[in-house]
């Protein structure tokens, strides 16, 4: 917050909503100037549990509204949880609602059943995994893509790409800034994570230069047209996530 960040991405499953809430309070910055995203974990998707989960997130964050609330994983009673999100939005508890980890297949399975269109789909996205098919679907529905792992979680080979190195030299930026600037120009929302103050500072310093359309095309060609690190369509993912932990174990 001290370095100028005003948009924070958290989740029930990160076990840090309380800390995020405390940071917001301690910053002394007006609530209206801060964007807070959190996410519901899939164990809470049954309608009554979902309603409770929204209030639990609000309580932990110490807020009376969240700017964006997502269904973190697209499995289980997704339609019931979505209904709870729509109602919480109407009640003023959440400003915008969305989904996460929806592949084209999962999107087409659920979204046609929703009464309202999600505002965002937060998925894995970086120059190696550009989600070209999904982006077409989202663009047609006016849905914004949010990138998780915008830096490929620090993927070494991505940071060693000659193209990116050359652009970094040209613009006197670092590789992380070139990647994040590319994503920004693609219309993708990014929220890189770092525990290092110098990176937290530099990652944000991407609004004073612009990649040319040829350079954008060249980075588009780094796409590996494959699966990312996490494949939401893979068999067994829902069970694996559901059995990984209990987000309310310490409530």
């Amino acid at each position: 917050m001290r370095l100028g960040y005003r948009h924070i991405d958290t989740a029930t499953a990160y076990f840090n909503e309380q800390e995020v809430g405390r940071a917001i309070k301690d910053s002394g910055i007006d609530r209206q100037q801060i964007w807070v995203t959190s996410k519901m974990w899939l164990q809470d998707y049954a309608y009554e549990d979902a309603k409770k989960a929204i209030d639990t997130s609000l309580n932990k964050l110490g807020l009376d509204y969240m700017d964006l609330y997502l269904l973190h994983q697209p499995y289980g009673e997704v339609d019931e949880a979505w209904k709870a999100l729509e109602e919480a939005k109407a009640a003023g508890k959440i400003r915008s609602i969305g989904v996460s980890n929806m592949t084209p297949k999962i999107w087409n399975q659920w979204v046609p059943k929703f009464a309202s269109m999600p505002s965002v789909n937060q998925v894995e996205y970086n120059p190696y995994f550009q989600q070209k098919e999904l982006r077409q679907i989202l663009m047609a529905a006016h849905v914004t893509l949010e990138a998780w792992a915008p830096l490929g979680q620090g993927n070494k080979s991505l940071f060693e790409e000659t193209l990116l190195k050359n652009l970094a030299t040209k613009y006197q930026k670092d590789i992380g800034q070139i990647i994040l600037r590319f994503e920004h120009q693609e219309g993708v929302i990014v929220f890189p994570k770092s525990v290092h103050e110098s990176r937290i500072q530099s990652n944000k310093d991407i609004f004073d230069f612009e990649l040319t359309s040829d350079e954008m095309d060249a980075i588009r060609n780094l796409d590996q047209n494959g699966k990312g690190m996490h494949d939401p369509d893979a068999a067994g993912v829902a069970e694996m996530l559901l059995n990984a932990f209990d987000v309310h174990a310490n409530d």
């Binding site: 001290r2 370095l3 100028g4 960040y5 005003r6 948009h7 924070i8 991405d9 958290t10 989740a11 499953a13 990160y14 076990f15 840090n16 995020v20 964007w35 995203t37 700017d67 964006l68 400003r95 915008s96 269109m117 505002s119 965002v120 529905a141 006016h142 849905v143 914004t144 998780w148 994040l180 920004h184 219309g187 929302i189 990014v190 929220f191 890189p192 994570k193 937290i200 944000k204 310093d205 991407i206 609004f207 990984a244 932990f245 209990d246 174990a249 310490n250």
Partner: protein, 40 residues
């Protein structure tokens, strides 16, 4: 110098979202959340 002039994108519900932010996901917390938290 702190520059908070982060551009916004307009969502399909008309809301303006800052196009850049901070992620708080920690892999260690994801892998062993309960074990870690139960220690305290």
């Amino acid at each position: 110098m702190t520059n908070t002039n982060i551009p916004t994108f307009k969502l399909n519900d008309g809301t303006d979202i800052p196009s850049f932010g901070f992620g708080t996901f920690q892999i260690l917390l994801m892998v062993q959340p309960i074990k870690r938290l139960k220690m305290f």
